[in-house]
């Protein structure tokens, strides 16, 4: 522990957390919010504000899952609220000012995107976008957030074993599709082992 002054140590700790997690958290949250960067920024900022108000000891040791979890819950709250409100506002004419890949569900893909850009994104990422929502989320947490099964379980409020199943299924599906197998069944099978 830094003994200089609790306030300074606290500040340093928060700034370090910000430095380290700002990008990854936004990358994750922006997807939960269908590419709405501003909303994601609000959520992430809010998460850090909450972090400041936490007793440090209560998050020590699981800072990453704590932050992800806060972002996730806030993001889901927002989505629910939006759906509830059913704002009668017409959709913004164009959302491609959003960062990253328009969003995870192909439906939001820019029209013609696939057609005219061989280099848009790798086949693998396109396929990730086609996975069921929750598999996408665990894969992102695992491979983009570098989180362990247990941490993902904490974040998503699942059991570790359930996370294990989701990740396994996701990977097996991707494998099949990457190797071009057109097997419509989702149960994994070894392609010509």
């Amino acid at each position: 522990m830094d003994s200089s002054s609790p306030a300074t140590a606290q500040k340093q700790w928060v700034c370090d957390a910000l430095e380290r997690y700002e990008g990854p958290l936004l990358r994750y949250t922006v997807r939960l919010l269908n590419g709405d960067l501003e909303a994601a920024r609000d959520v992430v900022q809010d998460a850090f504000v909450r972090l400041i108000q936490q007793e440090r000891s209560s998050v020590q040791g699981h800072l990453a899952p704590w932050l992800y979890r806060v972002c996730r819950n806030r993001a889901l709250d927002r989505i629910r609220k939006e759906q509830r409100m059913q704002t009668s506002l017409p959709d913004a004419p164009d959302r491609n000012g959003r960062l990253g890949h328009a969003s995870d569900d192909g439906a939001r893909e820019e029209p013609g995107e696939q057609a005219q850009q061989p280099e848009a994104r790798s086949r693998l990422l396109v396929m990730v976008a086609d996975l069921p929502e929750r598999q996408r989320e665990v894969l992102r947490l695992k491979f983009q957030g570098d989180l362990s099964y247990r941490e993902i379980a904490e974040i998503m409020d699942l059991t570790v074993s359930h996370v294990g199943v989701l990740i396994h299924t996701g990977i097996q599906t991707l494998r099949q599709r990457m190797t071009g197998s057109t097997d419509p069944k989702r149960s994994a099978s070894i392609p010509n082992a």
Partner: protein
């Protein structure tokens, strides 16, 4: 007896290092006699590695500067502040996750029951979930419980935001309250709950409610059943970094599999010079395999060929003359190609741009100095050719604190043609520029011009005080149409000139994927146009976006002619680096047409080679020719050039007391200066050499024709560096020169920055498969780079080491 199938999730858990020791041991014994499952694990691992690569290369956005500042400003608040209604049940103890058997089974049962309910649509079930979610951050109790314990001293902005958050949660509660109890599945609907802990049930219910639709729910259900059939629900070991467990073979296989669908080990061959036939792992891609990667990109990127500088003898070629270059595009392009699993095209590897991508800690001039930059020279052993010497010339521009930046008049000139319609292009342009706007001050101005089928002024020059107007205009941009860069450039310069700020920064920032539709505008015309516009005092920065189809040569040329820099932006981090971290530098030019001429002493130097700067070479007589355009230095920029020197048979080491190479040499303080007037014929008045002859080439310091001067044999000097530059608004150049001696420094004694720059240069040579790479290998480069990593606040140097590793995986998978 072993009837494990490949549907067993433990395969993945094992591959990712998520099993604990006991489980792992057991599992490995199961794998012992199952070749098929071992292959399965390998395949999972390799896909996982690929997934990690791909996902990590996605851009990560950032908060606005304001938001970051708000957080930092609050950061030292004691955690006594409490959000209204927030409780502290942030995390249950870890043991909570292990209710062996219950959770899986409970969830299955629950799902079975909950499915019909879920069919009623998401919005409603979502609301229910709010009630059931057991977590610290569920919406709070209504604020009528007004124990509002927010601290009294909330900063305004944050206070407002907290207020908003509170209102939002109130609204949410109002909504939840509207939901009639009958809408909610009564707890009694779950008769089996008796044995299950509350939180588990809530969690399972929440899970069920979260599921988007029937199909997915069914699939989940199958998953769960499969899982519970296995009837194993044991704790798994948290892993720190599972990817590190992927061995190199599997990493190599990742890419290989993409192409060949098999897991045979990759072969490696070194040569790849055929642009049309890309080599992957040393194999040319067969026709039928083309589908397995995303198009043949390399052939769509246009790079001018590079013919490497060779070793020259000072007796024949005493002078080496070139224009400085602060561009960094090559580094980003190399990185992008590697991330795509491709070997970088040799012509995309420009050594000086790799080296100059990094900041070096050279000493900047003090405010009172005569010159706007300072040169630092260091000489030490050359790591890839130990009997050679390596000379590093580092130039550092004056630093201008952000607050002292002159007012800025920017015109964004944005390509919105159809090809920009990709995540890595227009959206990234917008994000980057929004960040840039966030970093400008209210007195700065921004205008936006777009070009595609037609050009148009989207936003006339607007003060940044109207930030929202600017951001809104950026946000609304969309891509579509064909490209004609010409007219847009005209318009952008026109707008910039209309709002010209005298003594300020006036700059057009062109963002494109390089797709100039030259059907209308020939390249030559475009370049001439830019050359002409540069005279108006409006400078040009070109930013390349996107992948493939990047007319790199063109962008770079435009930036050169337009008195600006060219960068390639492939991620939001890179946008941050180029547009914000270096902003004061990129925007404020402190010296223009900076040329370097080095004269080598034939008594000490047998031959020398300039690393990189191939497309910046100048003829010796161009050095004094003030009509010859050269590179610009921005505030705080550093520029580095390396020379590899083959010493003459007897290396004369300097006497102590001569210019110590590691010491920054104060240009001007102890060196003669002069102004040359106009083209060529310069009136030389050098204090040190009053007997200067008048010519278009500065007289040689170390030789008369075929005769060495006294200085050559007696001084022990290795070389003399001469610099010429103009003030940003000047037309005549100033000369700075200083001799450099070699103190015989060993590699180990070299500075960290020296080592790092050498590592980067060696890396570039390996990527180019240069004839001059000597003993350099990827492993050696990593060692050298680590030795020179230094503080590396922003992690760029660390990223470089990863990039070396990446290149090794692709180009030399066996050597790891």
């Amino acid at each position: 007896m072993n009837d494990m199938t490949n549907n067993d999730p433990r395969l993945t858990a094992y591959a990712l290092g998520e099993l604990d020791d006991a489980e792992r041991a057991e599992f490995e014994s199961l794998l012992a006699d199952r070749q098929d499952l071992r292959a399965e694990v390998d395949a999972i691992r390799s896909l996982a590695g690929e997934l990690h690569e791909e996902l990590m290369s996605e851009p990560a956005p950032a908060l606005s500067g304001k938001q970051r500042d708000a957080i930092r400003a609050r950061a030292q608040d004691a955690p006594s502040l409490r959000l209204v209604g927030e409780d502290d049940r942030t995390f249950r103890p870890a043991a909570w996750w292990w209710r062996a058997g219950v959770s899986g089974a409970a969830a299955v049962l629950l799902l079975g029951v909950a499915l019909p309910m879920m069919m009623r649509g998401r919005g409603r079930s979502g609301e229910l979930a709010i009630e059931s979610r057991d977590n610290a951050l569920a919406p709070t109790e209504p604020t009528s419980a007004a124990g509002d314990s927010r601290g009294p001293d909330l900063s305004n902005e944050l206070g407002t935001q907290l207020e908003a958050a509170r209102r939002e949660s109130e609204e949410l509660h109002a909504i939840v309250d509207e939901v009639k109890p009958t809408d909610a599945p009564a707890e009694t609907a779950f008769p089996w709950q008796a044995g299950a802990p509350d939180s588990e049930l809530k969690k399972a219910k929440d899970d069920a409610l979260y599921i988007a639709g029937y199909v997915e729910a069914r699939e989940e259900l199958e998953d769960l059943q499969r899982w519970s059939d296995l009837n194993r629900d044991q704790p798994l070991r948290p892993s720190t970094n599972s990817i590190s467990l992927l061995d190199s073979t599997s990493r190599a296989q990742v890419r290989q599999r993409r192409l060949t669908q098999n897991l045979a080990p990759a072969r490696f061959a070194g040569e790849d010079d055929d642009e049309s036939q890309q080599l992957y792992y040393g194999r040319t891609v067969q026709e039928g395999e083309r589908d397995f990667f995303d198009g043949d990109l390399a052939s769509r990127d246009r790079f001018n060929p590079i013919v490497e500088n060779t070793f020259l003898a000072p007796i024949d070629a005493p002078l080496s003359t070139f224009s400085i270059d602060v561009d960094t595009a090559s580094y980003s392009m190399v990185r992008r190609q590697l991330r795509e699993g491709r070997r970088p095209s040799p012509d995309s590897v420009r050594l000086e741009e790799l080296i100059n991508y990094f900041d070096y800690d050279y000493e900047a001039p003090s405010p009172g100095d005569d010159h706007p930059f300072r040169a630092n020279v260091e000489v030490a052993a050359c790591p890839w050719q130990p009997e050679h010497r390596l000379v590093r010339i580092g130039i550092k521009g004056m630093e201008i604190p952000r607050d002292d930046r002159p007012a800025t008049n920017l015109v964004f000139l944005l390509d919105v043609s159809g090809s920009m319609n990709e995540p890595s292009k227009l959206p990234l342009v917008k994000q980057g520029l929004m960040r840039l706007v966030d970093n400008l001050t209210v007195d700065d101005r921004v205008a936006i011009v777009v070009y595609a089928g037609a050009s148009g002024l989207v936003l006339d020059s607007t003060f940044v005080s109207e930030r929202d107007t600017i951001l809104g205009a950026l946000d609304r941009l969309s891509a579509g149409g064909s490209t004609n860069g010409g007219a847009g450039i005209e318009l952008a310069y026109q707008v910039a000139q209309e709002h010209f700020i005298k003594d300020g920064v006036n700059r057009v920032i062109l963002a494109t994927d390089g797709d100039f539709n030259v059907g209308v505008t020939s390249q030559g015309d475009l370049i001439r146009l830019i050359e002409d516009k540069a005279k108006s005092g409006v400078f040009l920065t070109t930013l390349g976006f996107g992948m493939g189809n990047l007319n790199d040569a063109m962008l770079e040329q435009l930036a050169d002619k337009g008195n600006g820099m060219c960068a390639y932006i492939d991620t939001i981090e890179e946008a941050q680096k180029v547009l914000i971290d270096q902003m004061s530098g990129s925007l404020v030019t402190i010296a223009k047409d900076v040329k370097i001429q080095v004269e080598f002493n034939p008594a000490v130097v047998k031959s020398y080679r300039l690393l990189g700067y191939e497309n910046r070479a100048l003829a010796a007589q161009d050095f004094n020719d003030d009509t010859k355009d050269a590179g610009e230095i921005g505030a705080g920029h550093s520029v580095t050039a390396l020379y590899e020197i083959e010493p003459a048979a007897t290396l004369a080491l300097a006497e102590p007391g001569l210019a110590a190479p590691a010491e920054p040499s104060r240009g001007g303080a102890d060196h003669a200066l002069e102004s040359a007037e106009g083209a060529g014929a310069a009136a030389q008045q050098e204090a040190e050499q009053p007997d200067h002859a008048e010519s278009t080439i500065d007289p040689l310091r170390y030789q008369a024709p075929a005769v060495l001067t006294d200085l050559a044999t007696s001084s022990g000097e290795l070389l003399t560096v001469k610099l010429r530059y103009k003030q940003p608004d000047g037309d005549t150049s100033t000369l700075v020169e200083f001799p450099v001696a070699d103190q015989g420094k060993s590699w180990d004694a070299a500075s960290g920055d020296f080592k790092f720059a050498a590592a980067v240069a060696a890396y570039g040579m390996i990527l180019r498969d240069s004839a001059y790479k000597g003993s350099a290998t990827f492993n050696a480069v990593m060692d050298w780079a680590r030795a020179g990593e230094g503080a590396d606040k922003q992690g760029y140097r660390q990223q470089f080491v990863q990039l070396v590793d990446r290149a090794q995986q692709i180009m030399d998978p066996k050597s790891e």
